[in-house]
């Protein structure tokens, strides 16, 4: 308004007043308000009114009777009607506002069908928006040529990946991690490579593994395979946090899957065993043994030997199984030594573990025990259990050591000797092959009295069993 008024000349304003007074067709009040708005200064008002009076006086109105009286009345009004009230009063404003609200609402007359509006709105539905954000991030990473700016993008990128991992959207997270990993391991500019590798470090040092482990138990196998591939794509730097996550993990399925990821790293995963082996959590120590079996072969024997003394019987049993799995003489020597020097508890645990092994992998160990430990003294019960175990395994490989055991014994210890020979003969009978029967037959024919006695009883049982088995096969 000020800009408008400043352009108006004195003549314009005075003519504006005189024209309205002469025409007499607008109210003096309104004219007064306009005049007050246009000319604020009192002296200016007087001066311009004088100019206007000259105009009016020169008009036909000026020559009419009572002109002076009319003019004075108008001038008085023009000079004294100043008001601070806005041009549009509050009441008037309210009336206008009311009129506005009555106006037709645009949305009320839209002829766009609901499907079209629905389609528009679906483009910013939450899932769509998340996809847009992902696309934007991909575009920015691709378009940005400035290395410093590209570096700045790493913070939101890592944040986005963490967000996706938090909610378990591994497909989207994998895609972005793939971009980072490709840049970090690619042939691109060194600067970019370093930026990407630093970002990967930041990602891994953050809450990534916590988020991943949160979801591991719940996702399906196909998705898990993608998670595994995603983890492996990040490279060896993930092995340590992976092992850390594994070392405190309580949930079996999550532990199993973390282990599977660790195994996917190949020999690099071997480095994690030391950490896991010393975990407070027995389940994690078992995982360590599992990893040793996967990675190490006979190199793991020293670590496994340590775990034979574990306070947790389950861990001891896992260690025994792992050693059995290695199956070399060195491995058996370790077990023998453990049986020889260990506490009663550890011996029991070892034997129980060995006894639980139901396949012929254990045969050489039992043979080793029969061949190397004393059937007398503290280890006598273990010797006996080894005999029984060979019988239970029914592995023909057990026949030779059992034959040796059958002939052992001392005349001054008849009870122990009888028990030993009976056990050996019974084990041979359980194996039940023609060779086993031949050993028993030989004992019946050529053995000492005690040996004959033990063998005879078992030989008839063995034959009866063989006949029954043959009949069964014939029936079949």
């Amino acid at each position: 308004m000020h800009a408008v008024v400043s352009r108006m000349t004195d003549a314009t304003i005075s003519r504006f007043v005189s024209r309205h007074v002469i025409s007499g067709d607008s109210s003096t009040d309104r004219l007064a308000q306009a005049f007050q708005t246009l000319v604020r200064d009192g002296e200016e008002q007087q001066r311009l009114l004088a100019l206007a009076r000259e105009d009016v006086a020169a008009s036909p109105l000026g020559s009419t009777e009572g002109f002076e009286s009319v003019w004075n009345s108008v001038a008085e009004k023009l000079l004294t009607s100043y008001s601070d009230e806005a041009y549009v009063s509050e009441a008037y404003g309210r009336e206008l506002s009311g009129a506005r609200t009555k106006a037709v609402e645009v949305e009320g007359v839209s002829d766009d069908p609901p499907e079209r509006i629905g389609a528009w709105l679906s483009t910013i539905a939450t899932t769509a928006l998340r996809a847009l954000d992902l696309t934007l991030m991909r575009d920015l990473l691709r378009i940005e040529q400035n290395d410093d700016r590209w570096r700045e993008l790493m913070k939101p990128l890592v944040g986005l990946i963490e967000d996706l991992l938090l909610v378990g959207d591994f497909d989207a997270a994998s895609e972005l991690i793939g971009l980072l990993a490709a840049e970090g391991g690619g042939q691109g500019p060194t600067v970019r490579r370093q930026i990407a590798l630093t970002a990967i470090d930041v990602l891994i040092a953050g809450s990534m593994m916590r988020h991943v482990t949160t979801h591991l138990a719940a996702i399906d196998d196909a998705q898990f395979e993608r998670v595994k591939a995603m983890c492996v794509s990040l490279g060896e730097v993930l092995v340590r946090p992976l092992a850390e996550a594994l070392s405190v993990e309580e949930r079996p399925r999550t532990r199993e899957r973390l282990t599977s990821i660790l195994l996917a790293f190949g020999s690099v995963g071997r480095r994690t065993i030391e950490r896991l082996k010393n975990s407070q959590n027995p389940a994690v120590r078992r995982t360590a043994i599992h990893l040793m079996r996967q990675f190490s072969g006979s190199e793991a024997l020293p670590d496994l030997t340590e775990l034979l003394d574990d306070s947790e019987p389950q861990v001891q049993r896992e260690a025994v199984r792992a050693i059995l799995n290695i199956g070399t003489d060195a491995a058996y020597r370790i077990l023998e030594q453990a049986l020889d020097t260990g506490t009663t508890q550890s011996r029991d645990a070892i034997m129980q573990s060995i006894g639980l092994v139901r396949d012929e992998r254990a045969t050489p160990l039992f043979a080793y025990i029969l061949g190397h430990i004393d059937h007398r003294g503290a280890l006598a019960p273990i010797y006996l259990r080894a005999i029984e175990s060979l019988g239970a395994l029914r592995d023909p490989g057990g026949i030779a050591p059992l034959r040796t055991a059958l002939y052992k014994g001392e005349w001054w210890a008849p009870t122990r000797t009888r028990a030993l020979r009976t056990a050996a003969a019974a084990a041979l009978a359980r194996i039940g092959t023609a060779d086993a029967e031949a050993v028993l037959q030989e004992a019946v024919t050529r053995g000492s009295r005690g040996v004959r006695s033990a063998a005879r009883a078992q030989l008839s049982i063995a034959r009866a069993r063989r006949t029954a088995r043959a009949a069964g096969q014939g029936d079949a």
Binding site: A3, V4, V5, D25, S26, S27, R30, L38, Y87, V88, E90, G93, R94, L96, S97, A99, R100, A103, V104, V106, E107, G108, V109, S110, I117, W120, L121, T123, I124, A125, T126, T127, A128, L129, R130, L132, D133, T135, L136, D139, L140, I143, E144, R149, E152, L153, K155, P156, D163, L166, V167, G168, D169, S207, R210, H211, T214, H215, A218, I219
Partner: protein
Amino acid sequence: MTAPRFQLADEILRRLAASLRSAQLYSPGHPIIARNLESLANAVQLIHDQQPAVTIGLVGEEVIVDDMPMARADTFGPFVRRLQQAGVERIVIERGVTIEEMTEFIAAVTTIDARDQEAAGTFPAIPHIRVGRVTIEQRVEGSLTDMATIRRLYSDAVSVAGDVWESAQTEGRPDATAARSMIDGLAQAVAQNRTALLALTTLKEYDHYTFTHMVNVSILTMGQARGLGIDGPLLREFGLAALMHDIGKVRTPLEILNKPDALSDDEFVIMKRHVVDGAEILRMTPDVPALAPVVAFEHHLRVDGSGYPSGVTRSSLNIGTMLCSIADVYDAMRSQRNYQKAFPTDRILAVLKRNDGTQFDQHLVRRFVQLIGIYPAGNLVRLNTGEVAVVLTVYAPDPYRPHIRVLIDREGRRLDLPYELNVWETSDDPQRPSSIVAPLDPRDYQIDPLLLM
């Protein structure tokens, strides 16, 4: 504090954060949401095996579960912020809670709008989840039916836009808090008195093009969004995104930004970078909705695949980008720039329509025309009868024939009692105005039309 209890509490927080975030990131019914809720229910069950209820408190930056201070809030940043935005400061989950109740709770936290007083009162009562709430309320002072209030709101918004711009320029990040607060006010005004606010965008006199343009595009975008039924937090996201659409220009060299003549090819290449810069700036600014960087990046892309950034393709554009693009083109052409004379409104609309179906969605352009009108509210116009009137509201079915207030009669005399008229209504009276023939410059009539609306 026992380790397992702490772990369980930590687990609940993580599950809660994951559930809430997934509900924010994915549409209802998405399997990821269901999976996270199931995990949350399992975690809650574990702690309920030990105790009848678990209490989660948000005290400033701290998260406390029962009596245990947990990880710093920034670990659960978005989760805590969202809860605080929703006015939630304490959550008690009692034994017996069902997965349905948790689903309802997560949905409520995700959708509730604490700045909306009515919505704040409608936080659902969930039998086994009790929520302690604080009310965050920010209202515009004065009545939004009062033109003076709207005008003050508009002028304050332009001033805040200047601050937002400056913070982006000096600190590399726009002041999102100030912007949000300003948008809250504008969004309320758009919802309650859109006509008056839209009228303000027609002003040809302004102190600073850039800031006025920011505010105008924001208002025009929210006006269109409102017409699509968008309201509440989403409407504000549209407003904020539109406000910031050109924020990348803070990195454009001033000699290019303020160049009065047409830009050279090389200069135009530099100018075009503002979409990438804007997206980067906004993507790195905390508390900016995801839509904002997307709109900043895409607002020069057109539905026919033309536009920039070059090498970027979109099979379709999202509604936020499309509405902002229309508002941007409209306001940029309406505004009188150094290198570009102001266009009459109808010509601007003709340009928008010329590209119907190719650069802009024709249905949206039609809606825009219906919203703004050929003669926008607040415009001074000459009628076919020679009278002069101010446009009060646009009549959507016929944007050429609005609701008007006649101020000056056919002899050029100012009326003591202006009268209102629906130009679209037909009449047999030949003296009655039936159309508008031209927009007028209010300066020629010493009139401020906005005061007369």
